[in-house]
């Protein structure tokens, strides 16, 4: 198909994956730019038929002022998907992806393109959440280890006793072990540890 699609995303991996999946779906002409102050010039130079953009970028406000060269569509049309398909619209918003139809792309094509972008953005969001959770877990373990080491040094006890002390205190105070541990390392040190 001869549709020119522009992907605006500051996540290069995701942009590449999206280009690949659009290629596989038969859309050959896919360009990618990162966001930034020069975005409008880039859009005017590339003159795409359709833009797919990450909703987390502030640049959408600038994008909406772009005047398309086509007389039929004097300005970009914001279109998450087929407007008759509220479920896909909702999904697109939830996934954080938005599309601009600059030269009257057919609904059938729009739907396919937006659906693959939604699927990709979803997958990335899931990976990010998992990564954040894994990081948090790692941080927690490090805090507990640090508190244990402090206890062992201060009281001349072994690792099992130190852990037992933390656990008992946590149970008595109805708190999580990591909270007790963080208190123990206290103040700035604990803050520094909590940072990624």
């Amino acid at each position: 198909m001869s549709l020119k699609i522009l992907v605006i995303d500051s996540e290069p991996d995701r942009a590449r994956s999206l280009a690949e999946s659009l290629n596989a779906a038969g859309f050959d002409d896919v360009a990618h730019v990162a966001a930034g102050a020069g975005l409008v010039e880039a859009v005017e130079r590339i003159a795409p038929d359709l833009i797919v953009i990450d909703m987390a970028l502030p640049d959408r406000d600038a994008l909406e002022s772009v005047r398309s060269l086509s007389a039929a569509a004097p300005r970009p049309i914001v279109m998450f998907a087929d407007e008759d398909d509220p479920a896909l619209v909702e999904e697109a918003i939830a996934a954080g992806v938005c599309s601009y139809n600059l030269s009257g792309v057919a609904t059938r094509d729009m739907r396919a393109i937006v659906a693959s972008a939604v699927a990709l953005f979803r997958r990335y969001a899931r990976i990010e959440t998992q990564l954040a959770a894994a990081n948090a877990q790692l941080e927690e373990r490090r805090i507990v280890e640090r508190a244990k080491a402090q206890l062992m040094a201060a009281r001349g006890i072994g690792e099992p006793q130190a852990y037992k002390w933390l656990r008992t205190k946590a149970m008595n105070e109805n708190r999580r072990i990591v909270e007790v541990a963080a208190d123990l390392i206290k103040g700035d040190e604990a803050d520094a540890l909590l940072k990624p």
């Binding site: 502030p58 600038a62 002022s65 998450f80």
Partner: protein
């Protein structure tokens, strides 16, 4: 007790989001039986789309954008109402530093607008930026320069640059200056890239700034909760206006969950912090009353610059979107001064003045336009 009503409120990283953040952090919404979910959005486009598709119930918004969403000018249409205004003032016109400093010299004789207009007409300057096509900023900047006979599109170009990109655009030379809300002018000055040469007060003293927009359908389905939201914001507005709270609010807003910006830059745009060039105000002098005459002013200016159809029946739009009746019903009982009418003559007051109202007259702030015009739509 019944379950709290949920309301999803969108906002941007701007000083004038303060009342919404304060109402949330201090539990003012909770006091009204409302469970508010605030969502910091990266762009006005996001705010508009989420309102249009029902992913937000309410938002801090630019009045011209509230009309654009209602009329479906930039995507799906969604009827919005403005029962409450959040702030006045706070915009800066900030130029590339050398240009700004140079013009300050020349402005001594003829004033800044004329000095900038002359320089724009000489040509060779990069465009000026505003934050959105349907923004107060776009209308105020055009008005200010037109009063000095520099016309957008004829004598200079306007481009759209989101606030968070203004510094980058200024430093790269893509724009010669911008008009944006606080604290972005201050951010550019602190980075030594910009010089603020005027504020929204220089265009229209105490110009209405941000509005609270709510989906009309949500308001119809949740009239009690709507009134509760207004009362919570009214309490928060008073808190934000008190100079002794400024440093506290600045550090609250500066947090990563909210504006994620230097608290000193925010502080200078809060009431009572002298030295700030563009100070916002959130309560005093019936800031919060949605005057239909102000709605008309915005709509007429949108027509002037062909942002809306010149034939559009603006009064019908102003009546439907701006809802002083909802304001009076929600806030009259808690003692908010409530004007007797939905409109007033805009402009003409260079000094504080008094507005007849029940039970007592209301002390009003100056409302002079830079060209001395009076806007009267009786």
């Amino acid at each position: 007790m019944s379950d709290p009503t949920k309301v999803r409120v969108g906002l941007l990283r701007l000083t004038d989001s303060a009342p919404v953040i304060v109402a949330q952090e201090f539990g003012f919404f909770a006091d009204e039986g409302i469970e508010a979910a605030l969502s910091v959005e990266p762009s006005w486009a996001n705010v508009s789309d989420k309102l249009a598709h029902g992913a937000l119930d309410a938002a801090v918004i630019l009045p011209p954008l509230a009309f654009a969403v209602t009329l479906g000018l930039r995507g799906a249409a969604q009827p919005l109402v403005v029962p409450y205004m959040l702030s006045v003032g706070g915009e800066t016109i900030t130029l590339e530093k050398r240009l700004g400093v140079d013009l300050r010299e020349r402005a001594r004789e003829k004033g800044m607008a004329a000095a900038l207009a002359d320089r724009l007409k000489q040509g060779g300057l990069a465009p000026l930026a505003v934050v959105h096509e349907y923004s107060n900023h776009n209308l105020l900047l055009r008005y200010w320069l037109a009063a000095a006979d520099a016309i957008a599109g004829r004598d200079y170009e306007i481009v759209i640059v989101p606030p968070a990109r203004t510094l980058e655009a200024l430093q790269s030379g893509r724009i010669a200056g911008f008009c944006a809300g606080a604290p972005w002018g201050e951010v550019a000055e602190r980075a030594d890239a910009g010089a603020t040469v005027a504020t929204s007060h220089d265009v229209w003293r105490n110009a209405p700034e941000k509005a609270l927009a709510m989906r009309e359908r949500w308001v119809e389905a949740n009239p009690q909760a709507m009134a509760g939201v207004l009362r919570a914001l009214y309490r928060a507005g008073k808190f934000c206006d008190a100079p002794q709270n400024a440093s506290y609010i600045a550090s609250l807003l500066s947090r990563r969950a909210w504006l994620a910006l230097d608290s000193h830059a925010i502080l200078s745009s809060l009431p009572g912090t002298h030295g700030g060039k563009a100070v916002s105000r959130f309560s005093a002098h019936v800031v919060n009353y949605p005057w239909r005459s102000q709605a008309m002013w915005f709509l007429e200016q949108m027509k002037r610059w062909r942002l809306i159809e010149p034939k559009l029946a603006s009064e019908a739009v102003a009546m439907r979107v701006y809802r002083p009746d909802l304001f009076a019903a929600a806030l009259g009982p808690v003692g908010a001064p409530t004007p007797l009418r939905d409109r007033k003559r805009e402009g003409g007051h260079s000094e504080p003045w008094s507005l007849p109202a029940a039970p007592t007259p209301i002390a009003m702030a100056p409302d002079l336009f830079c060209d001395g015009a009076i806007f009267d739509f009786e």
